[in-house]
């Protein structure tokens, strides 16, 4: 049984113009100890998905799902109180902005320890010992002195390490990392990625890593789910996705990454033309067709999720066969 099982998850947000369908019926699962990357542009619903999993959606947001199971527990029917028992204890979250994610008024020690004290009822001393151990594990020197420091005394990279240590305090089964390296310098990014990967293997924690950067994905993910306009449009084991992307959007994203040796120096950087469709109201047919270089009349109809060899799925009419040559009449109904 997978650790997390998500079926037809929808998140709707009332906005002035109507109902914004931020997440439009997505399916995915996470096995114990694996790292799943959720990839997509900003606004594709990946952050809303993570907040929905944590039960931290904005108050106005409406969630529905055929199935939203964590370790066999149905999350949709859980009371807020039982939900908060899971949060921080069995599922933890690392946020994008390390500069603002820590409370400026309390010491690191206080903020690291409070979750463990709340969930496990340990003494402050035991909690501090665990905090010191984990700060050391995430590569922070003089961990003991750091406990009495305040967030403003640390750099962004260090704060993100503290956030990682904080997420690990209760040994959760699942960590959701929402773009944890986006706000950091490139050199620090690489360190944090390596650290997350190491800790994930060492502690056997499952990780949902949310990013817009396919370059990051290749280095750390076991499996990838690509999101577009509130849907998962492709999911596959990482090697399969890079070897044979099944969805034109994924191919577009991959071609946007300049590769030394393959991209000629001085050539224009690739980009996907067009913009993401509005998610207010219903989307008819394939949501990507207005930007797709291979769009066909067929794409007016909503594409099914096509199965490809090796646990690989793509939501495209032409995922498993060649796109008809241009100007040729439609061959299939």
């Amino acid at each position: 049984m997978p650790l997390l099982n998500v079926n037809n998850l929808r998140v709707d947000l009332p906005v002035e113009a109507g109902m914004l369908h931020a997440v439009r019926g997505i399916d995915f699962h996470v096995e114990r100890g694996e790292m799943l990357c959720l990839v997509g542009e900003s606004g594709c619903g990946k952050s809303m998905t993570s907040l929905a999993l944590m039960g931290l959606l904005p108050r106005k947001a409406r969630l529905s799902a055929d199935r939203l199971e964590f370790d066999g527990t149905d999350l949709t029917t859980l009371s807020e109180r039982r939900r908060s028992d899971l949060r921080g204890a069995r599922m933890a979250m690392i946020f994008q902005e390390p500069m603002t994610a820590l409370n400026p008024a309390y010491t690191l020690g206080n903020q690291l320890c409070e979750g463990l004290i709340r969930h496990r009822g340990v003494s402050r001393r035991e909690a501090r010992e665990r905090a010191i151990y984990l700060l050391g594990r995430v590569g922070i020197s003089a961990a003991k002195d750091r406990l009495d420091q305040y967030p403003h005394q640390l750099s962004g990279g260090l704060r993100q390490r503290v956030m990682i240590a904080m997420a690990l305090m209760c040994e959760p089964d699942l960590i959701i990392a929402d773009e944890p390296t986006t706000a950091l310098d490139v050199t620090i990014q690489a360190q944090i990625l390596r650290l997350l990967r190491e800790l994930q293997r060492e502690f056997g924690t499952a990780v949902i890593f949310i990013t817009h950067d396919l370059g990051v994905v290749a280095r750390i993910a076991d499996r990838v789910a690509v999101m577009y306009a509130g849907e998962v449009i492709e999911s596959a084991p990482t090697p399969a996705l890079y070897a044979a992307p099944g969805h034109p959007y994924t191919r577009g994203l991959l071609s946007c990454i300049p590769t030394p040796g393959r991209t000629p120096p001085g050539s224009r950087l690739q980009a996907i033309p067009g913009v993401v469709p509005s998610l207010v109201g219903d989307v008819e047919g394939c949501a990507f067709r207005n930007r797709c270089p291979q769009a066909q009349p067929t794409c007016e109809r909503t594409p099914p999720l096509m199965s490809l060899p090796g646990d690989h799925r793509a939501r495209c009419h032409y995922a498993d066969r060649p796109v008809p040559a241009p100007r040729q009449p439609e061959t299939m109904s």
Binding site: M54, S84, G88, A92, F95, A101, L102, N103, A105, M166
Partner: protein
Amino acid sequence: MGTFIIRRVLVAISVALTISIVSFMLLHLSGDLATSIAGPEATAEQVERIRVDYGLDRPIVSQYLDWLGGALTFDFGRSYYYQSTVVDLIVDRMPITLTLGGLALALAVAISIPLGVLAALKRDTWIDRLSLLFAVVGQAMPSFWFGLTLIVIFAVTLQWLPAAGSDGWQHFVLPAIALGYYATPAMMRLTRTGMLEVLESDYIRTARAKGLRGGSVIFKHALRNAVIPVVALAAVELGFMLGGSVVIESVFSLNGLGQLAWDAISRNDYPVVQAVVLIIALFYIVLTLLADVANAALDPRIRTR
């Protein structure tokens, strides 16, 4: 924290000295003191005698230094009007003003902070609207009128509490309500705004992501940050109530500092005026200092600045 406090105390002392100079000069530059003390019917000879007797003929700098030297040893001279020293008068009146101000502030804090938190948590509900109404009424109503209304209802009609005097605690209930209600709206609205802003912040989401209970999220993580500007405002409000409660003091016939200052001004009792101005300024300075220290205790980022 130690150096922070020392720095602030040094600043406070220099501000106090500046104020003493300004208040002394203002009074002496406002006209010929000897003439106004002597009164309109005095002869030129009498005025001259008063000038010499009161030492007003000496250079102003040496007058100031004399006065400052006295002030440092709590000797503000004798009142021109009352048959006692200025210090005795102030010691006599101060407890009344301090009691009134302290009670009013305690009441204002006890109402405004819980109400502000509640209004923020129940944003855009009838609770929020009702608290807004409560604040607008408090801001719009003149305190003397509210004080008189309280007297009419609770002292005259119901006869629950006395209308005037300062003999027992009962005498302070109505004036403290009148003065406290005046200070409540600003603090309540600031608490509400602060809470709304803080509740949207990333670290509140972090606190919730840790699975902390609602009370811990609201009171430990949110309120502590939201209340920082309220502390500074409370200090200013208390300073205002200690120095400017003359309206409420006269409505309720409380013989406090405000009443003393008012009487002294209208009787040209300059030693008393100078001493009261200096003392009220010192109240402000001490309160601002305390607010700074309290803010530094609440917000570690201020300490290193």
